[in-house]
Each structure stands twice: as structure tokens, then as C-alpha cells.
Amino acid sequence: MTVTWPTRMDHDTAAYWQGLSDGKLVLCRCKQCETWIHPPRGRCPECWSDDIGHQSPGGQATLYSYLIQPTAPKQPPEVIGWAELDEQKELFIVAPVEGMPLDNVEIGARLTLGFREQGGTNLPVFRTGDTK
């Protein structure tokens, strides 16, 4: 499969995609009230400031929910996790979870952010366990 990520990018999401190409997860964070914002937005939903900065979270998360499905056509199914980052309640990254058996997915499991190369860029994945 040949995919060049991203398929679409705008003013709000450019920093996210640039971060991934540099091997980092970069999220929006309000400089005024420090709320983390994902998916990326041009204005803070809490304090309405447009003073939006970008930061990398620590990479530790908890599995909040999941699906089991292939990530690409003709590939075996994987666990797709809603990883709730430690930084903020309901701050989710949706990404494949590696190292968790499909028949024993554990909501509440601790996860650590990683990356895998796909279609010409790095994409976030999570691996089971705390590494810090």
C-alpha cells in the first residue's frame, strides 16, 4: 500500500503532521489556560483564547475503549485504542495498540506512546505497559 500522509491538512492540523514527520506527537495546548486540545483547533473551547501553542505530551496513557478492525485493506485486524492521555481527562489519541491479544483486550490497561512508519511518515501507536 502506498499512502502519503496526510491526505488532507489545514492550518489547525499542520503542526500535528509536522510533528509526526519529526517523530513526535505534537498536540495543541492553550497558552492562556493550559487546556490540551485534540483534535487540533484554532481556538480554545474552555477560555475561547486563540493563543494556541503546541506541546508534546509525556506519552503515558490508559486504554479507555477500543475496536478490533484492520487498519488497512487485506491486513489482519488489530486493536484500535482510545488512549486517554495522563495529561487530561478525555484527551484521546485514537491509534493501534500493539502487544494486546485480540481475545483479551483490557479496558483500563496502561499504555505507552510509540510510532510506526506507514506510508511515508510516522504514525502514533500505543504499546502495553508503563515505560517511565
Binding site: 488532507r8 479507555y64 475503549s65 477500543y66 487498519t71 484521546f92 485514537v94 493501534p96 504514525l123
Partner: protein, 393 residues
């Protein structure tokens, strides 16, 4: 006590096309079938129709109001609208237009088609190629595309099961109820296909814990209603369905992928508005037509409608008649007597509106409920939803 404007409003005409896996007609022709039938049913002369309302769809193309106006030669349109989904929003917008006096007789429609993105079989049919690409109003699809575009509604169901102990049997009660009612609806796509709880539990889970039976059946089909003021309705042939209240419900987290877990909060906003606006309660309802695009969406709508958050499982068990394979809430309130999307077919919840009107008119045939005076209709999910309370006029 109205939908929001100075005039009390009523649904006075209903119409629908055939509902089938292959109508042999275009999505546009189906829309014209439904709109024509609704206008004829209403008894309103064609030249008096002065409002047209459609919606764009969440995932697939449909036809805009201009197509219908041209296709049926409607020459006196002073208000038209193409609103956000879900399908009942075409009706709630028409309610507001008539209530506010923007037009006198609005026809509101929705047309669905088994486009090529629905299945491999549809892709092989050259008459089913859709005219445009993916629909992504939340602008987030690229952020999850590497996951094969995960459906947040399924993850929400997993979370619900984790938090509240909801089981496949609970979802099965919703599915089997709707499929059993569809056996009594000759227009339903599953009119002749019985489904037992045993069949349901044996079905393969294609998106655990959901099976194909938990997902509404894609069809070719369209539906429409005609709306006018209650005052004008008195001069028309049908018993009107009076709109006691209509509402949407949106709250903070509305993204399909990243905020998939906030549906109940949105439904709560909508339901509270309906009760407050109408002065009615769930105990006043004689039937509830609950949106079932997925069975798991119906689960949380039931929690909001009956105020049983986190207790849907036990509530369904208490309402379940295993012999009949049907649900009866609070000892007397049936759910979705037409079969819902799961049984009648996927016009994205518009059938729930038409069935409420039929029941309130007393024209639901062998499905007719005794003394049906008040109906609750809820439609869609988070972030696109609508609800209404209808009263027999």
C-alpha cells in the same frame, strides 16, 4: 407549547417510496415518489405547497430541494432549506418555518440509496456510483485514517459495557423487538424474515460486540411529510398530528471519533428540552419511536428517554417479553412499531416519524395501538440529532 414559533403546527400528510434493496429507480426518483405521495395524502393542492425542506446526509449523497421543486413542478416555493442531518431535522426545520410564518405548507423529505460505498455488491452496479467523496464536516478524518477510519460509536458501546455491564442480550432485545414489529409492516425490508434471540446471539460479531444485525439495513427508499398550521389542518382530510415540542440536543464533545463517548449528555439536553417545552413526561407517552441506526445508539436513547442512565440493561430485562420477542416499557409503551431502521430499512429514522403519525391517526393497521394519543420520536445520534413529541389532533 409549539415547536418554537407563534403558530401551532401539525403534520397533515405522509408519503413514502418503496423500501427495498434494489428499487430499480434513482435516488432522485425515490425522493419524488415520496414527496408526491405526501402531498396527495395531505389533500393540499400542488400550487399551495410553498416550502421545501431536505437534508444533506452524514455519509452519502442525496438530492437537494431544487431537484424536488423542479422534478414535481412546484412553482410557488417561498422557503427552502437543506439542513444538517439527521433525517428528522428536515421535519423540525419545516416545523419552525411554518410556526414562524415563513411558509404555509412545507413538504419535508429524505431519500436514501444503497450507494457504492455501502458494500461490495453495490460497487459492482454501475448505476450506484456516488457523485462525491467522503463526508467529513468535523474535519478530523485524516487524524484517524491510519486506523481504517474507526467508528467511535462502536467504541462507545464497548465503554458502556465496561462501565455498566451491558450485554449482547440487552442489544438483542432491541434488535429482536424491531425485527418482530417489521413482520407486521408490509413495507418493511425485513417483513418476511423472522429473527429470534437465539439467531441474534449466534450471529458473528463483525465489530465486537456488534453483529450485522445491530446495524440498520441499507436500502433504496425515501419518505416525506407535509406540515402546516394546526388551524389550516382543520380544513384538511386527515386527522392531524400536532407538534407539542421539537428539539435538537448538542453538547460540548461532538466529534464522531474523538468524543464518541458523550452521546448520553447530548440526548439528555434534547429530552429535557422536550419535557420542559411540552409540560409532558415519559409516562404520558403511548409509544416511543427510538432511533436505531445501530442498536447501541437506541440503548442510550432509551436511557435518556426513560431517565435510566447506566441502568438500560435491567430496564430492558424488566420490559422484555421473551415469548412475544418484544419490549413493552412501563408496562404499556411499545417501541418502534414499524420495525425501526433495523427492521423496516434505513431511511435514517424518518420511518419513526411516519409511524408516529400513522399510530396517532389510527391508521397503523394490524400494528395499531389502542388509544394512541402521544408519541415520542427521537432521531440521530451525537452530534446530529432531533426529537419531537406528537399529539393526535
Amino acid at each position: 407549547m409549539t415547536g418554537g414559533g407563534p403558530n401551532k403546527v401539525a403534520i397533515v400528510g405522509i408519503g413514502q417510496s418503496t423500501l427495498s434493496r434494489d428499487a430499480g429507480r434513482s435516488v432522485g426518483a425515490l425522493a419524488l415518489d415520496a414527496v408526491r405521495d405526501a402531498i396527495l395524502d395531505s389533500g393540499v393542492p400542488r400550487e399551495k405547497i410553498d416550502g421545501v425542506s431536505g437534508i444533506y446526509s452524514t455519509d452519502q449523497p442525496t438530492v437537494w430541494p431544487g431537484y424536488v421543486v423542479e422534478g414535481l413542478g412546484l412553482k410557488n416555493i417561498v422557503w427552502s432549506n437543506c439542513s444538517s442531518p439527521p433525517s428528522a431535522n428536515t421535519v423540525t426545520e419545516g416545523i419552525l418555518a411554518v410556526a414562524g410564518g415563513a411558509c404555509d405548507y412545507a413538504v419535508c423529505y429524505h431519500s436514501k440509496f444503497r450507494w457504492d460505498m455501502v458494500s461490495g455488491a453495490a460497487r459492482k452496479d454501475p448505476l450506484r456510483r456516488s457523485p462525491r467523496g467522503a463526508f467529513d464536516p468535523a474535519m478530523n478524518m485524516p487524524l484517524v485514517e491510519s486506523c481504517g477510519v474507526p467508528n467511535g460509536m462502536f467504541a462507545a458501546m464497548q465503554r458502556h459495557a465496561h462501565e455498566f455491564g451491558t450485554t449482547r442480550e440487552h442489544l438483542g432485545m432491541i434488535v429482536v423487538n424491531n425485527r418482530n414489529w417489521a413482520l407486521e409492516n408490509e413495507a418493511a425490508v425485513f417483513n418476511d424474515t423472522p429473527l429470534t434471540m437465539e439467531d441474534y446471539l449466534a450471529a458473528p460479531q463483525i465489530a465486537p460486540p456488534l453483529t450485522a444485525l445491530d446495524m440498520d439495513m441499507p436500502i433504496d427508499g425515501a419518505m416525506a411529510v407535509v406540515i402546516t398550521t394546526a388551524e389550516r389542518a382543520a380544513d384538511l382530510p386527515n386527522r392531524p398530528a400536532i407538534v407539542e415540542a421539537s428539539s435538537n440536543g448538542l453538547t460540548g464533545g461532538t466529534d464522531f471519533f474523538f468524543h464518541a463517548f458523550d452521546s448520553y449528555a447530548a440526548y439528555r439536553v434534547l429530552m429535557d428540552r422536550l419535557w420542559n417545552k411540552s409540560g409532558l413526561t415519559i409516562e404520558d407517552m403511548d409509544l416511543v419511536n427510538i432511533y436505531d441506526g445501530f442498536s447501541s445508539l437506541a440503548l442510550e436513547w432509551i436511557e435518556a428517554a426513560f431517565d435510566v442512565r447506566g441502568e438500560a440493561g435491567g430496564f430492558l430485562e424488566d420490559s422484555w417479553d421473551a415469548d412475544a420477542g418484544k419490549l413493552t416499557f412501563l408496562g404499556r409503551i411499545p417501541m418502534s412499531t414499524h420495525g425501526g431502521n433495523l427492521g423496516e430499512g434505513r431511511v435514517q429514522g424518518f420511518g419513526h416519524v411516519l409511524e408516529a403519525v400513522r399510530q396517532l391517526r389510527g391508521s397503523a393497521g394490524k400494528r395499531q395501538i389502542d388509544e394512541a394519543k402521544l408519541a415520542l420520536v427521537v432521531n440521530g445520534n451525537n452530534p446530529v440529532n432531533a426529537g419531537m413529541i406528537l399529539r393526535a389532533g
